[in-house]
Subunit: 202 residues, 2 copies
């Protein structure tokens, strides 16, 4: 909406180039890892010259960050929606299943997300990862009339790490059924952290 497009341009919209660049970047990183997401390769994949790419994006690092952000936003939207419609007591399990399911259905996003920490080096965003799950665990416990748990941070971290490992295995070995694994992990989370009998904090 706004700027008239030049004469005889292909189907593509005017400023949609940035989105296109983000898309090809996600494909490159998802298929071949971050080292493959080089300016030259991005340009080639987009059908542009290197200079043209840098006309639409300030720097390669910024483009990589934008691609990661988009993947993250998509993940959060989908998992968030699944969690919202579930009963409070079921949410931790739903979170586990939704997370693993998302990456099963979006193999490219898997690599973009899992290698982002190492290659994009964003220290200190660990809390953003475990806190939402810790909150779900806390709410599920109170909804079941259980006392507040001792160390929800460790519990959430451990569950998050378990999710990552299962997702990674699915990526490595396509024969591995992460759907089954997701349900087993979800069941273990529920019975271990939300069981009424012996209120053993994790």
């Amino acid at each position: 909406m706004s700027t008239r497009r030049g004469p005889g341009r292909p189907p593509g919209a005017p400023a949609a180039r940035r989105e296109q660049l983000i898309e090809v970047t996600i494909e490159l990183v998802g298929d071949q890892g971050y080292p493959a997401a080089t300016l030259g390769r991005i340009a080639e994949a987009a059908g542009l010259s290197k200079a043209s790419v840098l006309h639409h994006v300030p720097t390669v690092a910024e483009l990589l960050a934008a691609a990661y952000e988009q993947v993250l936003a998509s993940l959060v939207a989908e998992v968030g929606a699944a969690v919202e419609v579930a009963a409070v007591t079921d949410r931790p399990g739903v979170y586990v299943i939704a997370m693993i399911g998302y990456f099963r259905d979006h193999p490219r996003h898997t690599r973009v997300a899992s290698e982002a920490l190492v290659h994009l080096g964003r220290p200190g965003q660990s809390q953003e990862r475990w806190e939402p799950l810790a909150r779900l665990l806390e709410q599920a416990r109170t909804a079941r009339g259980l006392p507040p748990a001792a160390d929800l941070r460790t519990a959430a971290l451990a569950i998050g790490g378990a999710i990552d490992a299962i997702v990674r295995e699915q990526q490595t070995d396509p024969d591995y059924d992460s759907t089954d694994a997701a349900e087993q992990l979800a069941a273990a989370v529920t019975t271990t952290l939300l069981s009424p009998p012996a209120s053993r904090p994790r």
Copy 2:
């Protein structure tokens, strides 16, 4: 043993140069990540020229691999020793505590090991990671008279991922006490997978 050393060499031994290079590589990677482990920086850290470094080591990639192997060997030796002296039924828990304890005590090794998968790209060694733990779980179960569990691979993967997450958190936030976390995780593993009451496989 063998080759006489040249005249007036410093304290260092003859072929110990390779070990020295591995050492400085571990330090570089451990402190600043794999991208910092460049030929130039390794040479500088070792007090040699780049050409001299390549006189003792065939290639930079080989040196990086050797550094990783050394870290891995050290980890396996220490954890293996701890597991061996424990009772069979305690071994899964001991494994968890020993793994987390090792990385708490060797911060540099943490980064070398955790970023190796991404930067050294050794696909398919996933099995080497989860199989030993799966075996410990199996043996502990039979020692307790429990039936064979359904999916020990997923269980071992999940526990391994949880360990990684706790180790990473310790590295990110020094205030986080991974020792407490290790004991909680070990306890959860024992009660979830080795409990006699309801034999619920994970």
